[in-house]
């Protein structure tokens, strides 16, 4: 089996060969071009130049599931390939086909369940079954383990290995080096649209791959200064959110001058936690800020007035007005307190301290790169006299330089006495920044680690729900 690529720009003259029966890892930083390459291979994006040859069909399992929540499992798996009986769908046959498929690959699932009621791990199975029903010769997996617990990851790769053994060629697009080392046969490293390394996994190690990905050393973060932590945010028995991803009876505190990292797999209560503190969703239990209670009906305006700043997870929808310019976005949240005459100064401060490019207050935010958009969101939070900053995945989807800048500014805010609650799905980010790590699993806090006592293996086990 041979596959050739060769497009320009995002993917620049890349050749890649996948062999039947192998698990091939494609790694690279955000923006290195790996997702574009996968999309070209799948046929979702046309290559400007070059060609793709494949023996048989190509399947793609998306990082963000392409499942329709309110349809049933069988409807999702067999959409557009429904077994028929005359004019209508043969529902018993459809059910049986999904059951048989699930049994073949050991991916058990109830064909009649509505997808929206399923936990993330099961949704992934449905996503995989949907592709497997087409019996693909090549299967592309785009960040397939992003939503899985460590234990689920192992069993997921067991399934993938079984698939490969049946002769399927598998390409795993990922940035998790541990998985690359543990589960792949060969690895291709991309940087800035080009292939910079191509080796058999057995002949390399994680450090070598990381150096190849970054193209040198990772930029250094700001130094941590000694602070005198004082109580700032206290939660007692805090519960919030909806069934599957609720926060349950959480008790914790964030002190001024420290970064508290929340380690956990996506969907274990993080959104509910951030929304409760932001004042945009109802909760039960007690939340106190600087000694005063935060009442449930104190909305975002009241929280903002007290110095609580939230960097939300979806910057495009929850943080920015994309049609507006940089200046008007910088003052969002302070529109009632900051006189119009000071708007330009506020914008200038963010642009300079956060290196927003282009350095133009009139630039329309929707036209900026993701990294620069995020700098505006983080800059707005950190330059508006914050007392507590909740940072939800503050470096998601931005390039490594912008990420280092954002992380450094968070450390500097901590050094200056701001309390920071860092919610991240990247353990490396949490370990790099946090003074204290709280582990979240199934909506509950199941462990606390001071910075000096961080135990990666133990935290991983706790995240997966193993006590």
């Amino acid at each position: 089996m041979r596959r050739r690529f060769g497009a320009v720009q995002a993917v620049d003259g890349v050749d890649l060969e996948l062999h039947s029966g192998e698990i091939h890892a494609l790694v690279g930083e955000n923006g290195a071009g790996k997702s574009t390459l996968a999309a070209i291979a799948y046929g979702a994006v046309a290559a400007d130049e070059g060609a793709v040859d494949a023996l048989g069909t190509v399947g793609l399992v998306h990082q963000h599931f392409k499942l329709i929540d309110r349809l049933r499992v069988w409807e999702n798996v067999l959409l557009n390939r429904e077994p028929r009986r005359g004019w209508t769908i043969d529902v018993p046959a459809a059910r049986a086909r999904v059951r048989a498929l699930a049994a073949t690959y050991g991916l058990e699932v109830d064909p009649d369940a509505r997808v929206e009621t399923l936990p993330v791990g099961i949704k992934q199975r449905v996503e995989l079954l949907r592709e497997l029903d087409r019996e693909p010769a090549v299967l592309l997996l785009d960040e397939p383990t992003a939503a899985l617990a460590p234990g689920e990851i192992a069993s997921f790769f067991t399934t993938v290995r079984a698939l490969a053994a049946r002769g399927t060629a598998i390409l795993v697009v990922t940035h998790k080096l541990a998985e690359v080392i543990a589960y792949s046969d060969r690895v291709t490293v991309m940087r800035a649209g080009r292939v910079v390394a191509r080796v058999a996994t057995a002949q390399t190690d994680a450090d070598a791959i990381a150096r190849a990905m970054v193209g040198g050393e990772v930029p250094a973060l700001a130094a941590r200064a000694a602070t005198a932590p004082a109580p700032l945010l206290e939660a007692r028995g805090l519960s919030a959110g909806e069934l599957g991803s609720a926060l349950r009876e959480a008790s914790f505190e964030v002190r001024a001058g420290e970064i508290v990292g929340i380690a956990g797999i996506e969907g274990n209560g993080q959104s509910a936690l951030a929304d409760a503190i932001a004042g945009v969703a109802p909760y039960t239990g007690e939340l106190r800020f600087a000694g005063e209670p935060l009442r449930v009906d104190d909305g975002p305006a009241a929280r903002l007035a007290r110095g609580i700043r939230v960097i939300p997870q979806d910057r495009l929808r929850e943080a920015l007005v994309l049609d507006w310019n940089v200046r008007d976005n910088v003052v969002l949240g302070r529109q009632r307190t900051l006189p119009i005459a000071k708007h330009a100064d506020a914008a200038r401060t963010v642009i300079e301290r956060f290196d927003v490019r282009p350095p133009d207050q009139e630039a329309i935010v929707g036209m900026l790169s993701g990294g620069n958009q995020q700098k505006i969101v983080v800059g707005r939070a950190l330059t508006s006299e914050p007392r507590l900053v909740v940072a939800y995945q503050p470096t998601r989807g931005i390039d490594i330089g912008a990420a280092a800048l954002v992380q450094s500014r968070l450390i500097e805010a901590r050094n200056a006495g701001v309390g920071v609650l860092l919610i991240s799905f990247e353990l490396d980010e949490i370990f790099a920044l946090a003074d204290r790590v709280l582990v979240l699993a199934n909506g509950r806090f199941v462990g606390t680690f001071e910075r000096e006592a961080i135990d990666r293996g133990r935290i991983g086990a706790l995240m997966a729900g193993h006590a």
Binding site: K66, I68, L71, N80, E82, T88, I89
Partner: protein, 291 residues
């Protein structure tokens, strides 16, 4: 007692008559919205169905041909909205509003051109009592058929997929734009029959403003009926009951304008009471643009 029963019977009979155009329009709305296109233009489609069926019936002398033409007119008007909503990805509600204004004006223009008089057409051959009964029965049949189509056929599943998440539907190889287009057009054909009922079954002419906002009540019925064919039919009967009630209450001396407002007020109250407790198809009203 007998008088009361007689009144009740009359009201129920009238309910069926008043509900039938609402049922057709609401079913058209259900199909359109399940595919992800909000059809504010239902009022305009009713107007097109009512007007064109009268013109064709008058010209050919055949009310059946007129009815067919009315259905076709409904589909054509819907096709304008469908094209704008899919290929041009415009705001569906704004476009639908334009459809309503244009259809009303086009019919008024047509009255002057064809009948040389503003306000109303001449009387034309109508479908008669038999036709009226047949169309009432057909409305309920249509609801059942639409239910089966949406829940049991491959096309219905695709329509629902496009209304929930057109991007995911396309990743399964479905042409979401085409699916939406045809769902809106077929929905327009169904709603066009509601217009035919108004002009050729209830009456035998077209007059300006005869649809009187029924398309809007049908929209409320779609929501009230939770976007299902049977639910929308039930809601249409509910609003039809209020429309029928006005004739009885009018005889009781209640001002006619207030009685005429009854179905609209009922729809308004239903809307307020139901909002937030029902979920529209997830991608309803959201234009789909291929990435």
């Amino acid at each position: 007692m007998n008088a009361l029963l007689a009144t009740l019977g009359a009201v129920l009979g009238l309910t069926l008559v008043k509900a039938t155009p609402l049922i057709y329009a609401a079913l058209g709305g259900v199909l359109s919205e399940r595919s992800g296109v909000v059809n504010i233009g239902l009022e305009g489609i009713l107007i097109a169905g009512a007007f064109v069926s009268v013109v064709v019936s008058g010209a050919t002398g055949s009310p059946v041909l007129g009815a067919c033409a009315g259905v076709l007119a409904g589909a054509l008007v819907a096709a304008v909205l469908a094209y704008a909503a899919t290929r041009l990805a415009v705001d569906q509600i704004v476009a639908g509003t334009g459809i309503n204004i244009a259809a009303l004006a086009a019919a008024a223009y047509g009255l002057v051109l064809i009948y040389n008089q503003p306000g109303a057409s001449h009387e034309v051959p109508a479908l008669g009592q038999g036709g009226e009964t047949a169309l009432i029965v057909l409305a309920f049949v249509a609801a059942a058929v639409l239910h089966v189509v949406l829940s049991r056929t491959p096309w219905g599943l695709r329509v629902r997929a496009c209304g929930e998440d057109p991007g995911a539907a396309e990743s399964a190889g479905i042409d979401a734009l085409r699916t939406r287009f045809w769902a809106v057009v077929i929905g327009g054909a169904i709603a066009g029959l509601g217009g035919v009922f108004l002009s050729l079954a209830e009456l035998d002419l077209y007059s300006d403003g005869m649809t009187a906002g029924r398309g809007f009540i049908a929209l409320a019925a779609v929501i009230f009926g939770r976007w299902t064919p049977f639910g929308a039919t039930g809601a249409a009967l509910f609003f039809g009951f209020f429309a029928a009630l006005q004739y009885s209450l009018q005889r009781a001396g209640v001002p006619s304008e207030l009685m005429q407002a009854l179905p609209y007020l009922a729809a308004l109250v239903a809307l307020a009471g139901f909002a937030g407790r029902v979920r529209a198809p997830a991608a309803d009203g959201v234009p789909f643009v291929r990435p």
